[in-house]
Amino acid sequence: MDSTTECIKKPLSVLSALFAAVVCVFLAVALREIPDEPGGLTAAAAAEIPRSGVEHPVTAVLLNFRVYDTWLEVGVLLMAAMGMLLFQRRSDLRDIRLMPSPEPVLHWLVRLLFPMLVLVSGYLLWMGKFAAGGAFQAGVVLGSGGVLLWLAGHPSLTNFPGRLFRSLLIVGFLSFLLASIANMAFGQAILAFPPAYAGTIILILEAAATLSIAATVSALIIGLQPVVRDRDRAPIHVPSD
């Protein structure tokens, strides 16, 4: 039994367990109220898919029917990244401490895997049109590529220009904003894409969101590392083949 378990107050623990059990029972009772037959918005989505510009229902919901929601979620990601950068007092990833990389095999493997991750990410993005895939999946795969570079101590991260990094962070949110302004300029409702161009607009929005999500996810994970001063920086060493 560790110290954390010891300092738990006994009465509080019993009370909280009871409360959680009651919540669980209430939720289970509520579950019985849900009708067994399929319902929800499946039929409404199915009817509108031909006008959405994509073939996959989830992508249609994400990037067309409920695009406002997705836009704001990209905004939440941007805010999380900005908050983290604020707390760490940094504006880019140029001063992070890279993991030391004594293993030439790891270095070689990451150099092999990273381009493949970029390829997989691009394919996932393209796949969103007709199957499960799209901006969020592609962005997380690409972001994990950034984390992989950091884990292998690859110097390309610390050489990444700060201005470009910040542009990548905002490009997703910005493209949704521009799309809505352009839509209104052409006399449409704020995010109601015309069916003729919806496919193209969605692909552009998804590509921009992918870049932003990738930058955000990798920045949130890597950016928590302490700052290094220039003279502490590990010497950049890339083994040749």
Partner: protein, 103 residues
Amino acid sequence: MSQYQFYSLAGMVLFALGLHALVILPHILRKILSINIMAGGVFLFLISIAARNFEDFPDPVPQAMLLTGVVVALSATAFAVALARRIYTVTGRSELDEEDRVP
């Protein structure tokens, strides 16, 4: 009990477990993990409700909410960890309990 009800119930149990842990564990990291377990329960519930007895395809709206929700949960967790680190650097403590309120 049909399949979706089983998964929904599992999600609810996860939610309740996370709620209990959130209340009783004083360490901030454990609280963050508890919130993540609660989120996992909500995700499991949403996806199982979306897929109940479907015909052509499962209800895409909960799926879309979940897809963005997973990425947002990841980012919120990372931000929470950044906050926890900041609390640790400023106060030297990483637990929230009654003693914290003593000035």
